[in-house]
Amino acid sequence: MWEYTDKVREHFLNPKNAGEIENPDGVAEVGSIACGDALKLTFKLDENKRIADAKFKTFGCASAIASASALTEMLKGKTVEEAMKITNQDIADYLGGLPPEKMHCSVLGQEALEKAIESYRGVSHKKPDEEIVCVCFGVTDGEIERAVRQNHLTTVEEVTNYTKAGGGCTNCHEKIQEIIDRVYATQKTEEGPAERPKLSNIQKIRMIEETIEREIRPSLKHDGGDIELVDVVGNRVLVAMRGACATCQASQATMKGFVEWKLKEFVSPELVVEEVAS
């Protein structure tokens, strides 16, 4: 039996916003019955261009239904720009977490959201240069690469948990591993000697600043946010979030998951990151 949080159970037993909106502004269907889960998402905007209503239909397990229900709740009241920033991790966090093997349910939600927004904007979601890597579940190299980057996946098993790729005949495992290797090869810089000598405080702060500049700020900027280093007290790194990150309900998760991960990797494994009011 899966260990589901109360929140997952609640959204599964009493799903919010089940159904389909007529004449929606955005619509998407993702997944397939062969893959074991599928999601149809529709939303409608109000006169202020905020999402007035969102509905889903899901074929899938309890966490797929709960993820879809959570997503529609999260969407309401948001502008399309705000909605676009919702990640699969946000959906999982909203539900108090999902079992690792079920993360693909939240990925399905994010995928549906992206496609629904694309349909609203009238752009095609076809990415012609992407190639199917996992034939069993129809997952492309681009989808795998995005999941690896966004969720910092390092093993084929994790990729399977998030995207399903590799969960069938296993023929694609080698290719998935190649994608993982490629992602980290481009992320790794010449920096970061294997043996880290003990840092002086000045050195530490300088390295933290450098790492933020090089590894962290560009990704946050890409999402319309920013970060400022406020202070370093021992191994506590105090930072303030700016821009979109400051209001984003996922910023806490971003902090822990991403900023800390980067600082630990490039500066010192002892560091902990704390957010302070800006």
Binding site: W2, R9, F12, L13, P15, A18, E29, S32, I33, A34, C35, G36, D37, A38, L39, K40, K57, T58, F59, G60, C61, A62, A64, I65, E101, K102, C136, F137, T160, K164, G167, G168
Partner: protein, 393 residues
């Protein structure tokens, strides 16, 4: 809330009589049956009694019974022994619908260089005996085909299959873990060489298994160690569990009639009422050649885990062959081998009954399940668009 337990192919309740029989052998009579003193000796006598009862249920001689730690060990021991005793032979025959205890072992052996034939099944989960016969070759070291399938309950003609193997001098093993105690087994009347059973499927505890090895069949031990089981399986006997299994086999023999009348009638009513109440539902597996306690029903366009969790609200316990419940991402290998379409396979539910189920248990499911199916179908993107028509995905 009292649970309605309809998952007896997964495991069963230890029967009260069985528990009573085994309990004294933990604290009061804890002697080692191999000891020279009479404190241990009395345990050895009790063990012999249990061995006799188990042999009786199977129509076997007590010397043909080897105790193991579980059904999985029995399956492994049988196949590995047959291979060890057929040096130079490189071919294994099994079916695509075996329990992982056999299937995964055979896949492992295939990687080690054995040639493994996995016999296909038809849409009803039945073997093609012509295909089977054609697959027997002079190079075949062992055949292992289950007596009854744990997911669908489909019964295989293992006695016929064993005869064909015997004619060619090929050792034949069957996994009878689901068959034992549910349908009559008489080893005196067939030519099966080895047979596995597991205690926890017939109201004995988990962690006790039996491997039947026919007199005259060459056997190499799987666990090498002490002289126990006449040197065929090392390790001090799990005395309380063996005594429990003896009692459980005695009960199973006494309940065999009830299993095939009362339990069968409950199962049949459950099945026919659900099929009647729920459109686009279908039984998986041949309905005649089947264990009396099992039904596997697919509810189209919805997913099994959701069904199970909603039934759980009513205390109803069952299983599913859907991907989400199998711990993998693919629906059950048994349903896929049968060619059950994905729209059906993901929504499959297995109910497996026991003599302890009542008419009220069945009524509860008949009343509560159809609205659950309805609720999930309303959520399903495939239902509205495909009602009556065929799936597009």
């Amino acid at each position: 809330m009292k649970e309605v337990y309809l998952d007896n192919n997964a495991t069963t309740m230890v029967a009260r009589e069985v528990l009573d029989e085994m309990l004294p052998y933990f604290h009061d009579y804890y002697g080692n049956p191999s000891s020279m003193h009479s404190f241990g000796g009395q345990v050895a006598r009790k063990l012999a009694e249990a061995r006799q009862k188990i042999a009786s249920l199977l129509g076997a001689d007590p010397e043909e019974i080897i105790f193991t730690s579980c059904g999985t060990e029995s399956d492994n021991a049988a196949i590995m022994s047959a291979l060890a005793n057929s040096p130079g032979k490189n071919h294994i025959i099994t079916s695509r619908v075996e329990h992982p205890a056999v299937k995964v072992l055979c896949e492992h052996l295939a990687q080690k260089g054995y040639r493994v034939t996995m016999l296909s099944v038809d849409a009803e989960g039945m073997l093609d005996m012509n295909e089977y016969e054609a697959s027997l070759t002079p190079d075949t070291a062992v055949v292992s085909i289950m007596w009854a399938n744990n997911e669908t309950g489909v019964i295989f003609p293992v006695e016929d299959a064993a005869r064909l193997a015997r004619e060619r001098g090929i050792p034949f093993h069957t996994d009878a873990v689901q068959a034992a105690g549910k349908i009559p087994i008489n080893m005196k009347g067939n030519s099966i060489d080895m047979l596995s059973i597991s205690g926890h499927k017939l109201h004995a505890p988990k962690g006790i298994g039996v491997l039947y090895v026919r007199k005259g069949t060459r056997f190499s031990p799987f666990l090498i160690g002490g002289h126990q089981e006449k040197g065929r399986r090392g390790g001090t006997e799990n005395v309380p569990a063996i005594i429990a299994l003896g009692k459980a086999c005695e009960l199973a023999g006494a309940n065999m009639e009830k299993e095939n009348t009362h339990v069968r009638a409950l199962r049949d009513r459950l099945e026919s009422e659900l099929l009647k109440a729920v459109p686009q539902s279908k039984v998986n597996g041949n309905r005649r050649q089947r264990l009396p306690n099992t039904t596997n029903i697919s509810f189209e366009f919805i997913e099994g885990e959701s069904i199970l969790l909603l039934m759980d609200q009513f205390g109803i316990c069952a299983s599913s062959g859907s991907a989400c419940t199998s711990g993998s991402l693919q629906p059950s290998h048994v349903l896929r081998a049968m060619g059950v379409p994905y729209t059906m396979a993901h929504g499959s539910i297995r109910f497996s009954l026991s003599v302890y189920n009542t008419a009220e248990d069945i009524d509860l499911v008949i009343n509560e399940l159809p609205p659950i199916i309805e609720k999930l179908r309303v959520l399903s993107p495939y239902w509205a668009t495909t009602q009556g028509a065929c799936a597009t995905a």
